[in-house]
Symmetry: C2
Subunit: 203 residues, 2 copies
DNA sequence: TGTACATCAGTGAACGCGCGTTCACTGATGTAC
DNA sequence: TGTACATCAGTGAACGCGCGTTCACTGATGTAC
């Protein structure tokens, strides 16, 4: 048994991390397997020791974001995961819709960086994207006390639309002033949504 | 002067239309110039009689959407452009966030279909995207009577975030039920935003 | 009205290049003795 | 403790293919006479 199992797993994770970063910057189609392997300090041939195809790598890259330590990205924003419910939701909104997150392509959420690529990808990639989104939904749903109601679900989906949608648009705009205008409009709206009661949603 | 100037212009417009449709379906990188020219019933060599590069074509394709007759896409939704202000805004929201618009890739707004591609493209493509967005903003800003205020501007950007952002997310999700859930959450939110007064926005 | 001509939109072969994937190999490693 | 060996992560050349772009050409067209 040459090389430990840990060695191979560590290499695989390194490749996935590099892929996620490169996809965030240049998209799925414009990043080659050569690019990814070179970034990981390897040569192209070894790729298929770890993955069955480039699509397979995309799935792993999207999913990898969900299993990261969230404090790793935004340590200086001081996310406090001991706080509960509404307070946590507000902290996540502040961090997610921050200028720092917008500009930090390396650590940006893939939901913001590659939505169009995912929309055109295969079922497994799209399932990975949905998994990230449901994770975010669960976090927002849990920001109210008591069991999750239909109104909680609806508010969570509204929050996701505003947080993710606002950031996607901000990233697309080249003019920093206009990008900030959108980002801040979305930020304010998200905070109002989180704070507001459910009255308007209970029809 | 063989061939009329109209002939060349018509061919050019046909190429742009085909490009916009193909980019909407498969994205910028995964559509080749051969694909576009073949779709237009031409061969690849003639492309450079009309455009200086593939990027140039992307600019034209994005911009082309802004100059279309809006009723062309959604004729059976009965957009009534004689109505004014708030009523028009509501009609546009209903049409933009409809399931029909989500599924009609051929006639879908490029802001929904290609945001990630634009985010990675050159300055001219991004300027074209911003132009579409500002056109939508102007329409929403004009949905209130009187001169455009800061609150009108802010509400317009909120509406864009919800309309465009919600549709981008819905397109990315493979599960039609989840896509509809997001689309309808965004739809309701947009109608509320359009209807609500400016009180919450005037800080 | 009819013909010869100049124009240039459109053709299709060719260019150099990089892609995803395959494969025969190499050499660093942990194990057996 | 030291050595011979089997394993397999990693290497790099090669595969067929399609890309964006260039270019010498062709032939449909409007014009001049």
């Amino acid at each position: 048994m040459p090389y430990s199992a840990e060695h191979k797993e560590a290499t695989r994770e390194r490749i996935v991390e590099c892929a996620r970063r490169l996809f965030n910057h240049r998209g799925f189609s414009d990043v080659s397997i050569d690019d990814v392997m070179a970034e990981a300090g390897l040569t192209r041939g070894g790729f298929y020791n770890h993955f069955s195809s480039k699509d397979d790598l995309f799935v792993e890259a999207v999913l990898s974001y969900g299993s990261r330590d969230p404090t790793e990205n935004w340590d200086d924003i001081e996310l406090d995961f001991t706080s509960r419910g509404l307070e946590l939701a507000k902290q996540v909104i502040d961090a997610y819709l921050s200028r720092r997150h917008l500009e930090d392509l390396d650590n940006q959420c893939p939901m913001i960086a590659v939505p169009s690529d995912v929309a055109r990808a295969g079922p497994r990639v799209r399932a990975a994207y949905a998994q990230l989104l449901e994770g975010m939904a669960a976090m927002f749903e849990g920001s109210r006390s008591g069991p999750v109601t239909d109104a909680d679900r609806k508010r969570a989906l509204r929050l996701i639309t505003v947080c993710v949608g606002g950031m996607i648009l901000a990233r697309t705009l080249a003019d920093p002033a206009l990008a900030d205008e959108i980002r801040e409009a979305a930020h304010e709206m998200a905070l109002e949504l989180a704070q507001r009661g459910t009255e308007a949603l209970e029809t």
